[in-house]
Symmetry: C2
């Protein structure tokens, strides 16, 4: 069984690279800090006799030989980059749990049938280079290598330039090595496991997500002399839209409908001016694709209905869509046997957030493991998972990897 | 009768001082442009033999002698400062209509019993120095001279320094001269006259207004993994509040209840983050003070109710209140005789916006005259009133002034 103390020590050591004021980490993708995190990991893995390769978009594959090196490796991992004021667990736990698995096998002198690979996917967070999960997406063929290398950060530095500068512009073709299967341990980033008192989430797939930009065009007017009945108030229309969407999502007793308005901006806002123009974003999610279609249709219908009622024009542009992902049943089953055999509380669940596993699942059988995080908080310096839960998730990862690599 | 063509020419000449790209004007209070506008006006008035004085907060009083110079003068006027992208009429019309009255009397060799005063109030717009109408407010005793002189613009320049710099730091005591009465012609800044096809608004008073800052504290969370039922979404609560206030105001068939949310900001907004903190502003208006009390009580009740329903804390701070103003019946009657005798279409109405007349009415019998403005638009380069309507309003002003000055 894995060493929870050693795992925790490595998490805390990694957190010291790019530490932030309030106990978080800042390792934006392909910065010197990101590279330093990778160096530390490579030092640890080289000490175990592992070899490694980097592909052209910087994905790092650390290999532990198996008995049958002609077979595709069983893979585990996640990402080491963070949000600007990120936490110590989001992504990092999945990578360092993989390290702990490698260390445990080395301690015991266990050699698996298939080789193992620990993967560090580049730029998962998307906060330096949009979109999120771009390098696992490139690995899986969702984006071309050229387009990924050409993506720019806010300062106009391209992904390719940043790769070169930090020393992780690899040469191996993107899409290699092909993987037998992939397992990603991650903090839940939501409150469900904690609220239900469960230690392990056996992740069966990932919600479908669709992102929209909404533009509302009304007419700005003086708040004093303009009677209510003459107004074409873009913010009143936005409020009606949000309130209706909210009620619609809350009315779904399954709890599977999720609607979020995360950004809202009044153009030329002033305290005594009726807002004429508003921009907002809508994030729609559901675990069933056809229900997500229905949710989008409801949303589009609302735009027309509310727009007409409020005398404004409401238009939307769908800027991103990620279909519902169902993970491979055999991988999910391999994960589920862990908590069953160890007597850990667990539940099957869908991931609400996107992860590298979303794209990897397109090219290899995949599953994920969740552990609780305090108050459901992530992307925040206050992000926290207990040493016990981190260890439990890592043990489940280890068991799944061993089963899969020795089958 | 007044000369509409000459009035229009003076309006267009004034608009050339601080002209903006799209046909508006930019004469922020106490800037060189504002001073240049005053110079032009003074040149015109000196040519008529008028004298003038400036008080310690820059209010400019241009005097035309009467037969009985021991009597308090009858006053007219408004302001010459504009919004940063202001129009050619808001304030300016009231001043240049006063000039046109003086010119008409000069042409005819008419000397009124009482002296006349044309007033230019400093910094009405409030866009350089907050709040709006601060110098007429100081004249009327609502603010102390010291506090007004100490107010700072965004660059830290005080009102007093700006007065000195532009040459309008006068010496006459604030509150002098005392006025027999005050008449202010202004564009309506709303759509009512235009929609109803009326030329003249006989303004009987000004709505009461109350300004609030609202703070909503919920909990930010990841939009993906956080079930709807666990959320404490500050924006969803804001939307419910705005929608309810909107419905409440629209349900008042009298049309006298007005509610506006002009500013709304999500703290640390992100597309896939449930908003944890929102700040917004609420502007409540009503023509009856007790109804405004009831409206505020409804609003305060909603904060508790919506806050509880949405799992957030909603607090408000009242940052400004202007009570309902009733203008002097004798001044309103003097205004109303104008359209009646000239056969102009008119209606009695309350002003929805604050004007210098609000404060002046505390110390002298006051009334206002409105003329339509295109599409109700003001505080905008596109602001427009027709030459015919400007002339009609000026004629009504002239008649009221003559009646009042010769009584
Ligand atoms: N894990 C994560 O934050 N992914 C970003 C995409 C999403 O909003 O789910
Ligand atoms: N006329 C005008 O814009 N006054 C400002 C105060 C208000 O909002 O009514």
């Amino acid at each position: 069984s894995i060493d929870g103390r050693r795992l925790w020590d490595s998490l805390m050591a990694m957190a010291e690279i790019g530490p932030t004021e309030n106990g978080g980490s800042c390792r934006l993708a392909l910065t010197p800090e990101d590279a330093a995190g990778r160096h530390l990991l490579l030092d640890w893995c080289e000490a175990l006799g592992c070899t490694w390769q980097v592909d052209r978009v910087g994905n790092l594959f650390i290999r532990r030989a198996g008995k049958r090196d002609d077979l595709a490796p069983v893979a585990m991992g996640s990402h080491l980059d963070t949000q600007p004021k990120g936490g110590r667990f989001d992504g990092i736990l999945g990578v360092l749990a993989g390290l702990e698995v490698l260390r445990t096998l080395a301690d015991r002198g266990i050699v698996t049938e298939r080789p193992l690979v620990l993967v560090v996917w580049t730029n998962e967070e998307g906060s330096r280079f949009a979109p999120a999960m771009v390098a696992s997406g490139t690995y899986a063929g969702a984006f071309s290598v050229a387009s990924t290398l050409a993506r720019e950060d806010r300062d106009g530095v391209t992904f390719g330039e940043a790769l070169e500068a930090c020393g992780y512009a690899g040469e191996s073709p993107v899409g290699e090595p092909r993987l037998d299967s992939f397992f990603e341990l991650h903090i839940e980033q939501g409150p469900v496991l904690e609220e239900e008192g469960k230690t392990i989430g056996v992740v069966t797939g990932v919600q479908g997500m669709r992102w929209f930009d909404v533009t509302i065009a009304g007419q700005s007017a003086h708040a004093g002399p303009t009677p209510m009945c003459y107004r074409r108030d873009a913010l009143a229309a936005a409020a009606r839209l949000i309130d209706r969407l909210q009620a619609h999502a809350l009315a779904d007793e399954s709890g599977d409908t999720k609607v979020t308005c995360g950004c809202l901006e009044i153009v030329s806002a002033s305290r005594n001016v009726v807002p004429g123009d508003v921009k907002l974003t809508i994030d729609l999610r559901h675990v069933i694709e056809s229900e997500l279609d229905a949710l989008q249709a409801y949303f589009e219908g609302l735009l027309g209905e509310v727009g007409e009622a409020c005398g404004v024009t409401m238009t939307q542009e769908r800027i991103w869509a990620s279909p519902v992902v169902e993970f491979a049943p055999e991988c999910v089953a391999a994960v589920e046997r862990g908590p069953q055999e160890q007597g850990l509380t667990y539940r099957r669940m869908m991931s609400g957030a996107g992860h590298d596993a979303v794209y990897v699942s397109r090219v290899a059988p995949t599953a994920m493991i969740f552990v609780p995080c305090r108050d459901g908080i992530s992307h925040n310096e206050a992000e926290y998972a207990t040493p016990e839960d981190c260890a439990a998730g890592t043990q489940v990862l280890c068991d799944a990897i061993l089963e899969r690599a020795n089958r």
